[in-house]
């Protein structure tokens, strides 16, 4: 099919650097359930407004971009309206490098994730590494491991599930904007 595309996993060129950074910070900073719901709510409404054909062209990139825009806008607003707020914002443009704290947090996350990876079954870990580290396509992994493609998908999916669960049990994942006033709080003012 002419329109098929396969994203190379290694650097995920699918996202620009800002999109990648956003996602990593999202994971680093987002923890308490309240804000993540606000963010999701707004992203959801914007996705509903989007033209379907544009959204369907590259839904992944589109959704991430919308989420990042919301985070950036809210970050600016919060800074603008309440200068005294402690801000640890996801504004990739304004703060190109994560703060030292964020670095520590990222390191911690990576540590948990590394643990989670090493605890996967050997076959699952191999599938994850071939895809994410070595950049093999799902079809190539299937061939290398002598598995069906759907089995490879399943390994990746369960690998992700295990790793995400590990992060959450350590209290690190969660999508929310850390220390950023949510629109609701501001509006109540």
């Amino acid at each position: 099919m002419a329109e098929d595309y396969e994203a190379s996993s290694f650097e995920l060129p699918l996202f620009d650097a800002m999109g990648r950074r956003f996602l990593r910070r999202l994971a680093a900073q987002l923890r308490d359930g309240t804000d993540e719901d606000d963010l999701a709510q707004e992203v959801y409404l914007r996705l509903l407004r989007a033209e379907s054909s544009r959204l369907a062209r590259d839904p992944r990139r589109y959704a991430i971009r919308v989420a990042r825009n919301v985070a950036v806008e809210w970050g600016r607003l919060a800074r603008h309206r309440r200068p005294h707020l402690e801000l640890d914002v996801l504004d990739a443009k304004a703060a190109p490098d994560p703060s030292p704290e964020a670095h520590v947090e990222l390191d911690q996350q990576l540590g948990h994730m590394t643990d989670a990876l090493s605890q996967l079954s050997p076959a699952r870990r191999a599938a994850v590494l071939m895809r994410l580290r070595d950049g093999l396509s799902y079809a190539e992994i299937a061939e290398a491991m002598d598995l069906s493609i759907s089995m490879v998908y399943k390994h990746l999916r369960l690998g992700l599930a295990a790793c995400q669960q590990q992060l959450e049990s350590k209290g690190v994942t969660g999508v929310a904007i850390h220390a950023t006033a949510t629109p609701k709080e501001q509006a109540e003012k």
Partner: protein, 397 residues
């Protein structure tokens, strides 16, 4: 920090993880559309998707640092230390999967190999309504208690849907459309998020019915009318009774728009905003409003060809001496396989006709009958209409 989540959430989480993995591989257009529909199902879907995508990014980082030898790994038997985590994941999967299956009918096969992705996707789509309902219940008070986020109803490309509301009013959604229902004490509000809807309003003089888009509202007490929007315009066509079109609230910044989205609209809003001209649109009339300027011009109300503007409800689109590019744009709304005109003279040709929006081939055949165009179908299913001279040679523009 609790990481216990209810079953509906865990089912959505697993779907989100599955989508993240699938999105990282080759996807066909139909699968991308399927994902869009899934993602648009609820804020919870969006949240879980973002979380899974973030976890995937960290996993990517960790994998890059992992020095394990893949060949060595594949020689190891699968019964090693890692089992515990795997088992947990598997248990979480089974628990959630079974639970959601009994409530929504979405059965998660134990063995992915026997069930293709595609088939499963179709099943999801068919159950969308049920799942959305389950999700709303299970997502707990949070989404329900906020007066702001009412139920959202949406259609995919090519789909129509009729919704009966609690007061007896009905909303018919045309292709690729979404509305949010926000009934409150003083008002029955519908927000047109995208696309087109026909509303038949049950009479209730004490509680006006409003359809709103980006700060422009169409207000009625008991009538039937059609509203359609894109990013630039809102079009109101009235088939019965009378509708007032007015600015609802001027939203000058994203922030205000957000607040407007997240909070209840003030009844009779617009009070301190724009002078607020009101246009009265009566049965058989039509008004188009610029959503950016929001200026309402009562003089712009025109006579409406109802068959043209509301014919979609009966699956027919009537065109009377309209430009071909406008007709094609109209048909393309209903189909993921698009028609493209490869010449400007073709685009400005005027035709009349009566077409089934879900069968764009009708138009293509109609055009081909004239003998001066050929239709190429691309591998992705799109059709290109190319003019040819009478001797059959392609004409370069």
């Amino acid at each position: 920090m609790s990481h216990r989540i209810d079953h509906a959430t865990s089912a959505i989480r697993m779907d989100a993880q599955e989508w993240v993995v699938r999105l990282d591989g080759p996807l066909q257009a139909s699968e991308r559309e399927e994902f869009v529909q899934w993602l648009r199902r609820s804020p919870l879907h969006v949240r879980e998707y973002l979380k899974a995508e973030a976890a995937w990014q960290i996993m990517l980082q960790a994998a890059v640092r992992d020095t394990a030898d893949v060949d060595a790994l594949s020689r190891q038997p699968d019964a090693s230390a890692g089992k515990v985590v795997d088992l947990l994941a598997a248990m979480a999967e089974r628990g959630g999967g079974v639970q959601i299956a009994s409530r929504s009918g979405t059965i998660r096969p134990g063995n992915g190999a026997r069930h293709g992705w595609r088939g499963r996707g179709r099943k999801w789509a068919a159950r969308a309504a049920t799942v959305a309902a389950v999700v709303l219940l299970a997502a707990g008070g949070r989404w329900l208690m906020q007066p702001v986020d009412g139920q959202v109803y949406a259609t995919a490309v090519g789909e129509t849907r009729r919704i009966s509301l609690q007061d007896g009013s009905t909303v018919e959604l045309n292709t690729d459309s979404a509305v949010q229902v926000r009934y409150q004490r003083g008002y029955r509000d519908i927000v047109l998020l995208r696309g087109e809807a026909f509303v038949d309003v049950a009479k209730d003089p004490r509680r006006p019915f409003r359809v709103m888009a980006e700060g422009v509202g169409a207000r009625a007490v008991g009538t039937a009318f059609n509203v359609r929007r894109d990013n630039r315009r809102l079009e109101v066509t009235v088939t019965e009774g009378r509708v007032e079109v007015e600015p609802v609230e001027t939203a000058s910044t994203n922030w205000q728009r957000l607040a407007e989205d997240l909070h209840v609209m003030l009844p009779g809003a617009g009070g301190d905003g724009a002078p607020g001209e009101v246009a009265l649109v009566s049965s058989g009339q039509r008004l188009s409003v610029d959503l950016r300027s929001k200026s309402i011009d009562a003089g712009a109300v025109t006579h409406a060809d109802l068959a043209r503007w509301v014919g979609w409800r009966h699956g027919r689109l009537h065109f009377d001496d309209e430009r071909l590019d406008a007709i094609v744009a109209e048909l393309n709304r209903y189909n993921s396989r698009q028609i493209r005109l490869k010449s400007s003279t073709l685009a400005s040709r005027r035709i009349s006709g009566n077409f089934d929006p879900n069968r764009p081939q009708q138009l293509l055949r109609f055009l081909a009958m004239h003998g001066d165009v050929v239709v190429h179908v691309n591998p992705n299913g799109d059709s290109e209409v190319v003019p040819v001279s009478t001797d059959g040679k392609k004409i370069r523009r």
